[in-house]
């Protein structure tokens, strides 16, 4: 079992290589075809043609594009993601500092939405046209039609400005607290590991609103998929067999129906996660979250090639590994997708 898993993992990673190469190439070409000249930007407002040319040469931008690309790939292969001209620090270091913040937010948002949407979808499917079903429909429609920055602002207005329940929406932790010793980079996890419940509470307070904002956004596709999948499964022949065998209603619902319905839901999760990564950029802006989303926006504005490329590449890597995890979970639930598919 274990060896077949290793084979599957290795194979998927190999299959991801062409995708990654494509992403590297497209990002490279796109960043260079964007308007704006980084040499002009970084040479400063007082620069003359001479100093701009010097800056361009020092940044390696005077070379032909294929040469630039070859050098970029060569550096990547050695683990060098380039230097952000905006901050003057290596891109990999910037991303490493900011990625945990974004990851913590996105994952919590995903978990919250799953925790709410899957039960909602199941209830809606088992009681068609009931109050729960209509509530499910409202949530789905609202989640699809409300832009995430609007939901975020609305939550800030209600829970911070009006009710005063939430702390000010400025970053991961109020300045009154010291961030927990870094283990995973996720404050919620690190504070618990350090046994510091006060910091945990403070971090939870900060992350609650942005995470809920993301969760509301992600609930729609998950709830809709769960409901549809459950409806399909509940009408299937094997559920009829289970009922005819007198199995208890909860066995029929969970062991027989839900496990089968989770398969398409799991597939949807991969897609939802990629939506969330995109929505993240806006939510981070609204809540001043020091994640890679805000980093990417600043880099894009400054034509900071290395930073933009690094951002896109890290997103791609994240996406590839998440899909790998989902594929592996899939084989755990569905024997038909087992290791012998090689």
């Amino acid at each position: 079992m274990r060896t077949s898993w290793m084979v599957t993992v290795g194979q998927r990673l190999l299959e991801a290589l062409p995708t990654l190469f494509g992403i590297i190439l497209v990002t490279f070409v796109l960043t260079r075809s964007l308007p704006g000249d980084p040499a002009v930007y970084f040479a400063g407002p007082a620069a003359d043609a001479q100093s701009i040319a010097e800056t361009r040469a020092s940044m390696g931008l005077d070379q032909p594009l294929p040469v630039q690309f070859g050098r970029y790939v060569q550096n990547l292969a050695q683990g060098d993601w380039g230097v952000s001209h905006n901050t003057g620090r290596p891109v990999i270091e910037e991303l490493g500092r900011r990625l945990p913040a974004s990851l913590e937010l996105t994952l919590l948002g995903l978990l919250l939405s799953m925790a709410a949407a899957i039960p909602l979808g199941v209830l809606a499917a088992t009681r068609p046209n009931s109050l729960v079903d209509h509530a499910c429909r409202v949530v789905v429609t609202a989640g699809v039609s409300m832009p995430v920055f609007f939901t975020g602002l609305l939550l800030v207005y209600v829970f911070y400005y009006q009710l005063g329940w939430a702390p000010s929406p400025l970053g991961r932790l109020s300045f009154m607290y010291i961030e927990p010793p870094k283990v995973t980079g996720l404050y919620l996890v690190d504070s618990l590991l350090a046994g510091d419940f006060e910091v945990f509470r403070a971090a939870l307070g900060q992350i609650a609103l942005p995470a809920i904002t993301l969760a509301l956004f992600a609930m729609a596709p998950i709830a809709r998929m769960t409901r549809a999948a459950m409806l399909g499964v509940l009408g299937s022949d094997y559920i009829r067999t289970a009922k005819a065998s007198g199995l208890a209603p909860h066995t029929v619902l969970f062991t027989y129906a839900l496990r089968n319905a989770l398969l398409p839901v799991l597939t949807t999760l991969g897609m939802v996660f990629s939506f969330l990564l995109g929505a993240n950029v806006l939510v981070e802006k609204v809540f001043s979250w020091p994640g890679i989303g805000s980093f990417a926006i600043e880099a894009l504005v400054a034509s900071d090639y290395a930073a933009v490329q690094g951002f896109v590449l890290s997103m791609a890597l994240l996406f590839v590994s998440l899909n790998l995890i989902i594929d592996l979970l899939y084989t755990l639930i569905d024997p038909r997708a087992g290791g012998e598919a090689t």
Partner: protein
């Protein structure tokens, strides 16, 4: 005569659809005794399966039971609570479905699916349930049951899946087995093996069996009595021999002429004209009247009911002009 194990009286079932109300079953009556095999015969859409689903209490939510009663061993199934029904289903009465490949949970080991039923219907330890599940697989003559316990339905052939279905149905030693087209989609050799298996296990345990089929030849081979259905009505019911020696209903006779035998050639087969009437809206008392060559004006008089053919009270027909 002894009390029958299963009695269905005047069962009328409707489906509520967008296009209107479909009258699927019209005053169905049937009795089934211990150890007896009754075949329910009729073309697709005649209401055979709906009758079986009514007995098992697994009708589609769109179905409404308008009238009638179903009694199983003194218990009124239609008025029983869902909890009471669940203690009877799977233990006292069980059902085998058609298309075994989709009737089993695709992502659960077949052995576990048998265990689920065993553990539901009796206090058994995990180990005991495991042992009995393997035993149940052996009983339906699945080779190498220890290994097959761990198989998933997609790893088994259609015939093996149907054997697993039978094992699930019979693992709690039910007194009534309903087999709904158990051999549809299986090749002829497997068909015979499955039917022999159902018959042998039924005899061994003195079980009542209701065999639903559209195959008259299959019914003749395995059933003690045959009930012929058409468009939701019982048109004729008789002991197997009596039905074949003197079919009284024109539809039964038509079915026989449309069934190939070893002695007949394809040219001799005669199709029944027309198709099932639309079961929406108002229907004549005899729903076969529109396809019948012997139709007369009195066929449209109300009050058609099953009546004895000659002196044999077991042979009954619902026809004003029986053959």
């Amino acid at each position: 005569m002894k009390q029958p194990l299963l009695t269905v009286e005047d069962l009328t079932v409707e489906f509520q659809t967008r296009a209107g109300i479909v009258q699927v079953l019209d005053r169905i009556n049937l009795t089934l005794h211990k150890g007896e095999t009754l075949a329910v015969v009729g073309e697709s859409g005649s209401g055979k399966s709906v009758g079986a689903f009514s007995i098992m209490g697994i009708l589609d939510p769109a179905a409404r039971i308008r009238s009638g009663s179903i009694r199983f061993d003194g218990m009124d199934l239609l008025t029983s609570s869902a909890g009471d029904l669940n203690t009877v289903r799977g233990r006292e009465m069980a059902m085998i479905f058609q298309s075994p490949a989709t009737a089993l949970n695709p992502i659960r080991k077949v052995g576990q699916q048998i265990e689920d039923v065993l553990r539901r219907h009796g206090p058994v330890t995990r180990r005991e349930a495991r042992r009995r599940a393997v035993e149940a697989l052996a009983q339906v003559r699945i080779p190498d049951p220890e290994r097959r316990y761990h198989a998933y339905p997609f790893e088994l052939s259609g015939g093996l899946c149907q054997r697993v279905m039978i094992a699930i149905a019979l693992c709690c030693q039910p007194r009534l087995l309903i087999a709904d087209e158990p051999t549809t989609g299986l090749d002829v050799t497997t068909q015979a093996a499955i039917m022999d298996l159902v018959r042998d296990l039924g005899r061994e345990r003195n079980m009542a069996t209701m065999l639903i089929t559209h195959d008259l030849a299959l019914a003749a081979q395995y059933a003690d009595r045959i009930m012929v259905m058409h468009a939701g009505q019982v048109v004729e019911t008789a002991p197997t021999d009596a039905l074949f020696s003197q079919a009284a209903h024109p539809y039964t006779a038509g079915l026989m002429k449309a069934t190939p035998t070893e002695a007949s050639s394809l040219d001799e087969l005669k199709a029944i004209p027309g198709s099932l009437p639309d079961l929406k809206g108002s229907l004549p008392p005899c729903r076969f009247a529109g396809r019948c060559e012997r139709r007369e004006s009195r066929c449209d008089d109300p009050g058609l009911a099953l009546a004895a053919v000659g002196t044999d009270d077991l042979h009954r027909v619902a026809c004003r002009r029986p053959l």
